[in-house]
Subunit: 479 residues, 2 copies
Amino acid sequence: MPQTSLPPSLHDALVQILGPSGVLTNPADTEAFCVDWRALYHGHCAAVLRPANTEECAKAVALCHAHNVPMVPQGGNTSMVGGATPDSSGRAVVISTTRMNQIHTIDHADLTMTVDAGVTLKAAQDAASAQGLLLPLSISSEGSADIGGILATNAGGNNTVRYGNARELALGLQAVLPDGNVLNLMRKLRKDNTGYALRQLLVGSEGTLGIITQAVIQLQPAPRSRETALCAVENPQGALNLFAAFRKQDPSAIHAFEFMSGTSMALVNGLIDGATLPLEAPAPAYVLVELASPRADDSLRSLMEDVLGSALEDGLVTDAVLAESESQRQSLWMIREEHAEAQKRAGASVKNDVSVPLAAIPEFIEAATKACEALIPGIRVAPFGHIGDGNIHFNLVQPEGADPAAFLAQDHAMMDTVAEIVRKLGGSFSAEHGVGQLKTYMMPSWRGGAELQAMRRIKAALDPQDLMNPGKVLPPAQA
Amino acid sequence: MPQTSLPPSLHDALVQILGPSGVLTNPADTEAFCVDWRALYHGHCAAVLRPANTEECAKAVALCHAHNVPMVPQGGNTSMVGGATPDSSGRAVVISTTRMNQIHTIDHADLTMTVDAGVTLKAAQDAASAQGLLLPLSISSEGSADIGGILATNAGGNNTVRYGNARELALGLQAVLPDGNVLNLMRKLRKDNTGYALRQLLVGSEGTLGIITQAVIQLQPAPRSRETALCAVENPQGALNLFAAFRKQDPSAIHAFEFMSGTSMALVNGLIDGATLPLEAPAPAYVLVELASPRADDSLRSLMEDVLGSALEDGLVTDAVLAESESQRQSLWMIREEHAEAQKRAGASVKNDVSVPLAAIPEFIEAATKACEALIPGIRVAPFGHIGDGNIHFNLVQPEGADPAAFLAQDHAMMDTVAEIVRKLGGSFSAEHGVGQLKTYMMPSWRGGAELQAMRRIKAALDPQDLMNPGKVLPPAQA
């Protein structure tokens, strides 16, 4: 007797389609699918369904649709905003993409990979790399996050500055719609003006319009030269000026352009083993810049030296170190990648994944820093992030020695303080992480009026019974 | 007394909003708006409305919506598929964007231009260029086509291979929805994951979901070096191999990669003054490749010479000429740009704007050539186009001395013959030109099932009265 609230006939029909291992109902098996990795949300589900391919997925969705059962698509379960966690009612099924995990083809003429939704980003990157190609999307959760998830959430990361978000990389797509029909957009075409942009709409809809089951991903030739430097600058404006200097020479060479505040860097240097600052002295702010190109000549090295040389001469950059080997390069990247971990070790922290227009970054950082310091004396304002995209992780670390719980009790005050400054500067309250369930409450005031109305109409048109990932992205309609 | 079928109260209210010169009803004034530039469609309208800004446009649309009057948005009236021409009923108003023609700002930090829909693409390019920037979209109708039109149709052109279609360039957007509400998405953010991709959906919807009135366009630094070469190759596969050789070195250097068949080139050389082939002898096929970079050093020249040197050595390229001056460069581009004109002078012709995956291009060209030659003995199969995007203008020129009308009477047989081969190869029946009214009949068999159903549902959700550009993109629903 399965432990599930599903009607027995539906349960049996699902087992018929998916096989016994494709339908999990034992709480010991399903629990991990009902909690997000940050453990912010603890839900329940009637079952976890694990289709092995699009056809199985479509049949399972059609059955759930016919029985009015809500469905929560889930990839690697790495959402930052509770986007893949069921609610607490236990009515929904989680539909996991993990068993759809074939890499079908890598096409060297078109530079594409045809891949199932459940393949992890890391596995897809490795498969491309093994054939001398680059899958140009990189995020810190890439070992778990899967292709379906990164497309559903329009993931960003370090290389967006050069290659765009996940949406720009999806040349083709297949998705199971809320009624179980399969939307087959698995085309490999760079130009195709034959109707509405359904592919682009599905990407970033966070599983509320359908379940992405397969994709054609645009690849690139693998870089054969790479130059990486860590630079000290006076302030965020200095970082932006340096970005403009590189961009003026060759925007397509810039594979990553990352900002780190002095406060955040000091935490890394103090709390992470081996993360010593490889510069003469601490600075107010830092940039990690990586140039890359498939060209094997030395033009990238000249570009790096020319721009940094001028910047040092002009005082724009006060100190810099160039990676002279792959291990030095990895050390520089380690320093960048340990910011989240260092902040965690420093105590409680509040994350703000925001973006503003590039021109507004200095004003944003200055104003938001002042406002947060006024709100909580001793707070450690520790921003870092993808400054080349206007995307700052404006993270706030508790005062030294303060009570973590007391600090976190003010999280909404801090988030709202930051958000209001972002709003005034024409920014976004969620640059990369999406809306999920964590941020639906912000949608009416930020994306209200005609915009939210259009989203609601599209949702109702494609999912009139509100069965696909209900409660995500769109807040409940006001009565 | 205005000559219009509009109710007098509506007419007066529109004049109140738009001013007397904003409402044209005299047939002498409106006629030009009712015929497409290819003169394939001759429609009628109740009036031409010419709002001067978004607010006026929104008020006018709300009024038409309240009176159930169909609306046909029109930019530069350069559609290849009758996308901006009203039907013959005379019920619709044409809403022209031409008076919304301000360039608001060019932002050097964000590299963006904020621009009204009615600014011509050429004027926008020139404004960017005057400030050392590049608006990286170029199409042959750019002197007339406007920003609203290129976004509504997701225009492509010569530089898509490097920068993508119009959709990829639109960072922000403002549109008037069918009910007169304004959708304000005028953000300047590279990362913003806060809900559905409405901007991407509006782009390419060909005016059926709303009227684009303003946009934020992503610019690039202007190129400071450029290398252009015309190359003779043995066949389409040779052209593709050359493309792969450049792409392997540096895909971002390739600003254009154009294919010309020997047949089409021979027409240009024979019928266009000054378009002499600058190579030793005619060849079966040609490539025009342009590399460009904002870098001022000589690395682009080395790249061009290295790749062409190897290709000549290997026999991949049989002859090549490099432009040594700007005037030589323009001569090479003139040869490419005169293909449409040369075909026109050669008699009647049928245009097929198709795309296939890159790997399928040789098979496509070979199979479609044979099939068309079998259909009409003596036909001159004269393909050319954006081979780097998989986009071939597979044009068919009448046999020498044949009767043009008799040739054109077989246009559907020719188009269907080509289309069936495209379909088998996973291609698209409209790569750049869109669907408009010319190709709606192809939608059910090419984009039918769940895809067309999803499009219809979205259309009904945003325009339940079917007032916005009715009869375009979506074919009439079957009774």
